[in-house]
Subunit: 215 residues, 4 copies
DNA sequence: ACAGACGGGACTGCCCGTTCCT
DNA sequence: AGGAACGGGCAGTCCCGTCTGT
């Protein structure tokens, strides 16, 4: 029995994230996290000096998982538009449909208003996500598959829309119903730019979806 | 000296909201709220049977304040477009720029994922707000000042955008900088519909803002 | 069920003393004391603000019990020598033979070297005990039943002997064996003063005890 | 660089004693002792298998120091009475006036009530001390410088008095004030036996001390 | 032998919601 | 309405003993 699991810090961060996602952060005790990771609370303090530290670690875990998932999804895709579409789908799925992530991130948003370091940590993550989207969008623009005027601004608005939909979906589930997922992706794409007529024959852009691309 | 202020329940709800807005809900104790309201903790239980009840009451207080403010603002305005614009401005100011409201509502969103009654309460509020916006938007449409295809859907998206901007603004303050407020209102209006050329001479819609109305 | 036992502080102090007497003070947790008193730890802090406070309260409890016992024993006795003898017997029994008291007081002695307030508290108790003994001894001297030169000094030495016997008895049990108790009392009395020949016919001073009165 | 100081066990025992003497045993951590000895905690376990073992070693260290000091003091003295007097002086100094020793021994007394091995260890030390005193006293008796009836019993009482004075001195410092040290030694000698008139002309037994030799 | 890190257990002090009594 | 008391729970801390590597 190795006394030192080589990845104990990561294991604890994962356990913390999972518990935080399932309950309110304030309602998750360190004992609970420790038990979930198979250790005791005292051991947590070998790796993190406070619950606050562990919250930050859980955030980092979330970042890593999100980015790893995204990069894994698009690694084998070469078509710019398809790459963007897949990432949008993933964003909708992760941010909107996954209840645990929604709960965790919402709590983090609330904490960000009180703790500078959490806000800074999350801001950095948001920056990297935005850069990624800007890159993806610029690539699509270059390929001529999307008419984008100002990629930075468009991405900002699109990301805001994702967050807004996430929140409202809690109260108005019809917004993010499963059969709406494709509509959402198209709506978000429309915020980024206008799809040229030549590509609208694609099955994903049938005429009956015109009303959505209006936004 | 009247031992019982005539509106003690309301006074408590207000004190609760103010404290919740300033701190995390979990970090606000009943003692604190009671002290803020000038009574003692035991007295709270004469009016609310638990802290949970008080949270709901704080929500209601927030609803009432919000709606009262909105109705007060537009009571004396008759022009449909101007009415809508004023409400949008108010929404931006209350939801985006007021830090206390942002903190409180974000916390409530997190709690909504755990407690059905809070979610139901907030959903009802959101319904009323949406109905209001739909009414305002329909009036503007009728007056021909805005081309709106599907008022319900457009309002949904616009409200989602407000929430999203609120959240992202925490991490990317440039989104909601003071000098961006007018841009935000126009952007939200653009989500609702297209401004016909005839009204674009209005000082609020100078040509240099064209890029924003693109959305 | 009365929520507030009228003597909760005393009850807690008693429970604390009893637990401290049975274990090492450091090995007694507040939970244990609380459980012994039929409450939970949180309630202890309604009455005592720290474990240290509770230790002081346990000391006071010990003082009160000791003094109450002594006063109860001699209340009905009028003969000065008999009064003194009874108190000596009680001292030997309480301080020397009762294991719990021995353990508790020894721990307190150790703590007294580290904490001024405990030392001050115990010093006050010792003062009152000495005053009591000085009074008893002076009364016996007045009655001519004992030749005492300097009551204060004699009492000091006698009390020191009691403490010393208590300590040594832990390692050399023969010192305080049950059948030695009468010898001990006579030895202590001898430290206080010389018994005049006229009273030595008393059954307590049979000739075979002469060797002890030699000290 | 010799990794193993040749007397590491002794060094650790000394460091342990010194730390125990300065704080409460429970408040001294192994890390602290190790640091004081210039090593780290892990190394302690190469020599002692537990903290308990180290406490016993600290006791032994104390024994050795005490006995070495005593034997060193009297090695060059031949007069029996002077030998006894010097040892008494040393006892008073070490046991009564040295605060560290007082703290350590008092703690050990408390632990002795809980742990048989500590009690046994200390009892053995006490036995050797008693034997030494009995020998010293018998020698003085043989030389005719002291009238002793029962050396064993007298030594027991005298040692008890030392311990008692030690304890009471914590609370009533006047008992062991510096200028009282000579009085204490004479008082202890008086417990051992009666100084024959022929030796009372010694400067140490001036007539004004008669009141003390009364005991 | 020594060093450092880790794991585990325990406990204090504290907070806070809730209830009861006045 | 006030306020004391109660009970549950938890974070942070401490420290012992073990384990691994040097």
């Amino acid at each position: 029995m190795p006394r030192t699991a080589p990845y104990m810090p990561r294991k604890l961060a994962q356990a913390a994230f999972e518990q935080f996602a399932g309950n309110s952060i304030d309602n998750v005790s360190l004992d609970q996290i420790a038990a979930h990771a198979g250790v005791t609370k005292g051991s947590i303090y070998c790796h993190y000096k406070s619950k606050h530290d562990l919250i930050l670690a859980a955030c980092s875990y979330y970042y890593r998982c999100y980015l790893a998932k995204v990069h894994g999804e698009i690694a084998a895709i070469t078509d710019p538009l398809e790459r963007l579409m897949r990432v949008l789908e993933l964003s909708v799925h992760t941010c909107v449909l996954d209840r645990g992530s929604r709960a965790f991130t919402t709590e983090i948003f609330a904490l960000s208003l009180l703790h500078d370091d959490i806000r800074a940590s999350w801001a950095q993550f948001y920056d990297s996500v935005r850069e990624m989207y800007v890159g993806l969008t610029a690539a699509v623009k270059s390929s001529g598959q999307l008419e984008v005027e100002d990629p930075c601004h468009a991405v900002d608005m699109m990301l805001a829309a994702i967050e807004g939909i996430k929140l409202r979906a809690t109260f108005e589930p019809h917004i993010a119903a499963n059969d709406e997922q494709r509509h959402l992706v198209r709506g978000l794409l429309a915020i980024l730019g206008r799809v040229p007529p030549s590509t609208s024959q694609d099955k994903n852009f049938a005429p009956d979806d015109e009303r959505i691309t209006r936004n």
